[in-house]
Every structure is written in C-alpha cells, then in structure tokens.
C-alpha cells in the first residue's frame, strides 16, 4: 500500500525535469500514465548508457532510472485523433504534468483552459526553464540554463577563475523536486476545497531558492572554492591513490587538536601542511579515524564507489528490478522510508507497453480500434 494509492496522473513530460517528479509519485503508488510517441521519442530514451551499448528506445538505463513504476502509451499528439484520445486520459486524471516548450500544449489544444473544460478541478503542473510568464517565458534551454540564470554558475568555482557549470543538469534535479512538493500541496488544497490549479514551476527559481543563504548576504560573496565562513576548516585534501580525496569540515577549535594529532601536525595546521599529511593516508581509513574523534570527514566518492557502497546497499539505496531489455538492473530508490505506506518500485515501461491496457480500460477503445489507430500512425 503506497502513500498515493488511487491517485491518477497523466504524464506528458519528458527527459528529466518532469519525469523525475512523476517518478516520485509513481514509486509511491500513484498510477502514472506516460504519454509519449515514437514520432517524437522522449530524449531520455535516447540517452546513454544503453543495454548492450547500442542505442535502443527500450534499452536506456538513464531512462529506466527516471521512469520507474510508470505505464507507457504511445499517442501521436500531432494528429487530431491523438489529441482526442489524450483528452480521455485527462478526463480520467487527477493531475496532468508537462514540460514541453512554451506554448506547445496550447498549440495542440491541450492548454490549461481546455483541460479545465474537460475536468474543472484538474491540477496541471508545468515545468519550464524560465516559467510560463515574463519576458523570458519563451526561452528554450536546458537544465544547465537554470544554473546560469540563477547565479549557481557564477557562485561555483575558484576565485580568479571563470564561473563553473555543474557537471550535470542540476536544474533538472531541483525543479522536479519542487514540482513534486507543489503537486502534493495542491492535492492537499484540492482535498479541502475541491479546487484544482495550474502550477507553473520554473527551473531557475528553485535554483535561486536553494542558494537563498548566499542571497541573504548584504553584499554577495564571490565564489570561494570549497571554503565556508561558518567553519574553521572546510576543504578537500589529497589522499593516497589516483584522484583520491578527503573532505574535512571543522567548526570548533576543540576539533583542531585531534585532527593535528592524527596527522602529526602542529595546531593550527596550515592547508599546505594538511594536504601533505593527508596524502599519506587512504581516504576511507583517514575519514573513519577522524569521524571516530567527532570530526566530520568523508572520502570523496566517485561513481564506482557509490555503485559499490556497502552502506548504500544496506540502506536500500538501489533496488534491483527486472526489465525486459536491461535485465536485472539496479535503480536508485527514494531516500525515505514511510512506516505505514512504503514505496514500491517496478521497472520502467517499454515504449507503448501499456497501449492496450490503458487505452482499452481508460480511453474505452476496442482492440480493433487500437489496431486501426496504430496502423494509421495515431497510436505511434
């Protein structure tokens, strides 16, 4: 029994900024129907790594981890009949999610006003780079655009060097988390008032929110590498091995002496001496020693370390799911455990895997109609 059992979502979103939100909902029990098309495949399905190393719309591990627990139907929204079928799914749904380019939903006849005419209490969540209003409403960009627009890039990096872009589309991580929260809050409001609403989630604004502590400064700090004014020592230091590092954070003078003792340094240790001393240790060993002394320290982990982490495995961070193309594939799970309504994950859907089930049961199409619409390229 999941927390969201019985909740119905029509999910038009693609790539990362929308699908990560609907994954949160699906893993927690909502029925999420992903509306996609072979004519315009979700770019997530085209993103590596692929099972067998070959591009395959059903073999992307990237897509699989972003779309667990959902159902997939293929509807060609560039056809009038396809749009009419989509409207049947909207009539069924409590929540609609989309992250198309600005104006696309309106152009195909599925704007918020139309959705309301189909279901007056519908909750529509739209995710876009800059939001649906304002002078940049038409901006077409990517998750990293939000890093540039929000100040993240300008505040990342080393003094005297150029701004630094995150190594991933961080806006595609933060914005869908905001979308999940927004949808859940809108559902609470709906339960009490019966009202739906259109939630307009910009990727840029959440990225500003998560660095609000920096915006709280009267004069904005410049980028400062790994330093943090709240700490006496806050840095990353080399360890034995190839590209191995340890992060150490000290916030009171009482921790300086045990640190210096372990590293055989004088108090207070300067950073150059620290780097020389830490380089003699294996990162995990040194971190364990410092943590046992009450000092916050951790090895800097890479992708292999995370994949092989015994602690994460014990915490259930990865769940092995059987997928028809990927085989048994480990997928990251939600980072929380609910005692009474636990999440449960199933494998991401193949493209159009649930056409007959969903379009038959929800859209009321017969097998013959589905076959005809498939042949005509409407269900494609």
């Amino acid at each position: 029994m999941g927390a969201l059992d019985g909740l119905k979502i029509a999910d038009f979103s693609w790539v990362g900024a929308g699908p990560r939100a609907t994954k949160d909902l699906a893993d927690n029990g909502a029925i999420v129907i992903k509306i996609e098309s072979r004519k315009r495949p979700d770019l997530g399905r085209l993103s590596p790594p692929f099972a067998g190393g070959q591009k395959n719309l059903d073999g992307s591990a990237f897509f699989a981890q972003t779309n667990t627990s959902k159902k997939s139907v293929t509807i060609n929204l560039s056809t009038p009949e396809g749009v009419e079928i989509a409207k049947k799914l909207i009539a069924w749904a409590d929540v609609v999610v989309e992250n198309f380019g600005p104006g696309y939903m309106e152009r195909i006849g599925l704007g918020y006003e139309t959705l309301k005419s189909i279901r007056p209490d519908i909750i529509l969540a739209s995710v876009s780079v800059a939001g649906r209003t304002g002078p940049m409403a038409g901006f077409r960009g990517y998750g990293n655009s939000a890093a540039a627009h929000s100040g993240h890039a300008a505040l990342t990096g080393w003094a005297g060097r150029a701004p630094h872009m995150p190594p991933l589309a961080y806006g595609d991580v933060v914005a869908p988390m905001f979308a999940t929260v927004a949808i859940l809050a809108a559902l609470e409001h709906h339960a009490r008032t019966g009202e739906g609403q259109h939630l307009d989630i910009s990727q840029t604004e959440p990225m500003v929110h998560v660095i609000a502590d920096l915006y709280a400064h009267a004069s904005m700090p410049d980028k400062a590498g790994n330093e943090d004014a709240d700490y006496l020592l806050h840095g990353v230091f080399p360890c034995a091995g190839d590209d191995r590092w340890i992060a150490i954070a000290i916030d009171n003078h009482g921790q300086l002496t045990p640190l210096a003792d372990v590293l055989e340094l004088t108090v207070p240790p300067d950073e150059a001496a620290l780097a020389e001393a830490t380089a003699k240790f294996e990162a995990g060993d040194l971190a364990a020693k410092l943590r046992s002394l009450g000092i916050a320290a951790a090895p800097v982990l890479d992708g292999r370390d995370v994949a092989q982490s015994a602690e994460l495995a014990a915490a259930g961070h990865f769940v092995a799911l059987d997928h028809p193309v990927l085989g048994s594939a480990r997928m990251p799970a939600p980072p929380y455990q609910l005692s009474e309504t636990p999440w449960a994950m199933t494998a991401a859907p193949l493209l159009g895997e649930h056409n007959r089930e969903v379009l038959g049961e929800i859209a009321g199409l017969s097998d013959a109609e589905i076959a005809r619409l498939e042949a005509e390229g409407v269900l494609a």
Binding site: P135, A162, A182, A212
Partner: protein, 362 residues
C-alpha cells in the same frame, strides 16, 4: 500561498530539515521552529527560517505537547532524541513524524561538505588541476530538506486514507546521492568513472566548451548536435560577416560528437571571437529570439535585478524582527492560478517555548 493553511508543523532545526520547513511555511503551513543547538551564520538563519515562528528551548518539557498537536514534525535532531519525540509519536497518533538522519544507522558527524563528497557529485565538479569542488551554498542540506517536505506531504496525503500519521525516516546521504543521476549508473553500465573536466562538456570522442567570455562577462553555450540551433547561430555570424568556414558546414550531416578535436577547436575559435565582441545581454536576446540555447551567466547582483524574476515576484523583502535589518530573498516557490497569500515576510525573534500558547488555544 495558502495551499497548506491550517497545517501545523513543528520543526526541530539543525540544518537538514530547515529548507523543508521553509517550503511548507511558504505554502501556508503554520511552522514552529525549535532553534538549532549549534550557532548558524545569521544569513543562513534568515534564509531558511523567515516566515516561521521561532522558539528557544527554555523548557524541554514544552516541546512534547507541541509535537502531539502538530500534523507534521520535521525532526532534524543530530545528537540523539533530546526531547523524546520518538517515544510519543507512534503511528497511532495523527502526526507525521519525519526523522532526518545524515545517514541511516550511523551517528557519525556529517556536514553539507561531507555529504556532497559522498554523493559522487564533487568528484566530477571542478578543474582537473584542483581538488574536487563543492556546489555553492548548502546543496546536500537543501536536497534533504526538499525530500523531508516531500515525505511529510506524502504522509499527509496517506493520512486521509489510513486515518492516522506515520513515521518517515529520511537519509541525507541518499538525498544527495540521488541527485547524482549519472555517475553510478554510468559506471555500472560502461565501467567508466567520471573525472573533473572543468567547463568542458565531453561527449563521444570530443569535448566542447560550456563557458565563454562575452565583452562584459560570461555566457554558457555548447556546440552540440542540434542542427537548427547551429544554423540559427551561424546565420547571425554570417550577418555580422564573421562566420568563416562555419558557413560551409552541412549541419544536418555533421556529428559534432565524432569530429576531431582540432576541428572543434577551430570552429570554437570563430564562435569565441564573436561572443567576446558582444555584450552578454545582446547574446541573450539573440538566443531568446533565435533559439541558440545560449544562456547568460548572471552574476548574483544581476539575478537580484532580473526583469524575468521581478515579473514573477520571486524576490521579497524580509525583515529581521530582532535587528530591523532587511534582505531581499526568494519568496514564492512557484506561480499558481490560485492567488497567493504570502506568509509574514519576517524573521521572528525566538520566544521561549514555554510561553507559546497559540496551538493550544486553537
């Protein structure tokens, strides 16, 4: 916003839950925050705690009644359960008790930096000749706070059906690690381990730049396999008479990811000279009009004065009740068709917990 009007939230603040409580307060919940045991920088207190009622712990016994009255307890205690909350908030109560741990099953000290280090994000952030680099601010804490808010709202939704609250345990380490969507899966499927590439975006056999100098700052743009985008950019270069050999490229039949690095460098040099000759606002306008996929890298001051963000009322004036100081901070989380009723734009001065009677009076 008033989406959560009437929802009572007790927050035991210690970094990990603070932003989660801030989100719930922004959406209309009545958030009462017990101040952190540790001193935090005043900017962090202001950023994460405005719009809440702040209490100091003059009497630990005063906390349990608040927890019993709360719909949600965001419990970020780091050093053991100092108020005994887990003893009184069982699943038979109405309360959704969200307990946030740095790492489940471990009491080892952790900070935002050490959590980010373990996420695999830092290992791929930064320049190859420097140590791994953190993200700005406190991203592990922020990510954890959002997950705590999510978990609380999941519990609230479920409560309508099951009739009672529940306990939810949130891991900060997992919250930060979940954000790193590429590194572990790339290793599992290809055996490749990501490294720091500076601002180089490596795809296929080659790497392309992500950060470019403009006349008055920086922009981000990459030469990627997007023919319409490349044609749109080259058209403007041609208008300006600086397209050079780029005018002759058949973008529909060119796979940038497979080009020799020297060709990419030659083409990037043309683009780089052009970008350097232009103001970033002009480059931003072209990008918006013509679909280049280029973004201006805004300085924080430019973000504060952004016309786009002003049109959406993102920044609000927040007053520190104790000092009278004002700060411009992000307010609404999103825009909605439901007219927002914002929370108080103040950082309240802490009051003794024993004197707080609002909940018992309601």
């Amino acid at each position: 916003m008033t989406l959560l009007k009437g929802i009572k939230v007790l927050e035991i603040a210690d970094g990990l839950v603070d932003f989660g409580g801030r989100m719930l307060a922004e959406m209309g919940a009545d958030v009462v925050s017990i101040s952190s045991e540790q001193d935090r920088a005043k900017e962090r207190v202001l950023a994460w705690h405005h719009g809440k009622t702040r209490l100091s712990v003059d009497d630990p016994e005063a906390i349990i009644p608040l927890a019993r009255q709360a719909d949600i307890v965001l419990d970020g205690q780091r050093n053991g359960d100092r108020f005994g909350l887990s003893d009184v908030l069982g699943p038979d109560t109405k309360t959704i008790h969200v307990r946030v741990f740095a790492e489940r099953g471990s009491s080892a000290p952790a900070t935002d930096l050490t959590l980010m280090a373990q996420s695999s994000l830092m290992g791929v952030t930064g320049d190859p000749d420097r140590p791994p680099l953190r993200f700005p601010g406190e991203q592990a804490y922020a990510l954890t706070g959002i997950q705590a808010a999510t978990a609380a709202l999941l519990g609230l939704y479920a409560r309508r059906r099951i009739g009672h609250g529940q306990r939810v345990d949130v891991s900060a380490r997992q919250s930060a690690t979940l954000a790193s969507y590429r590194e572990a899966i790339m290793y599992e499927w290809t055996g490749r381990i990501g490294r720091r590439n500076g601002n180089l975006l490596v795809r296929g056999k080659s790497g392309v730049r992500q950060v470019w100098e403009a006349r008055d700052g920086h922009v981000t743009w990459s030469m990627i396999d997007n023919p319409p985008m490349m044609r749109a950019l080259v058209a403007v270069l041609a208008e300006q008479g600086v397209a050079g050999e780029l005018s002759d490229v058949d973008w529909d039949n060119t796979l940038v990811a497979d080009l020799p690095q020297e060709t990419i460098e030659r083409w990037q040099a043309i683009v780089g000279e052009f970008f350097k000759s232009q103001e970033k606002a002009q480059l931003g306008r072209w990008s918006l009009q013509k679909g280049w996929g280029l973004s201006v890298i805004n300085t924080p001051a430019e973000v504060r004065h952004s016309e786009q963000l002003a049109s959406r009322s993102l920044f609000v004036q927040v007053t520190d009740e104790a000092t009278g100081e004002k700060a411009s901070l992000p307010g609404p989380l999103f825009v909605s068709t439901i007219k927002p009723v914002p929370p108080a734009r103040t950082l309240s001065a802490p009051q003794p917990a024993s004197s707080f009677k609002r909940w018992s009076a309601s």
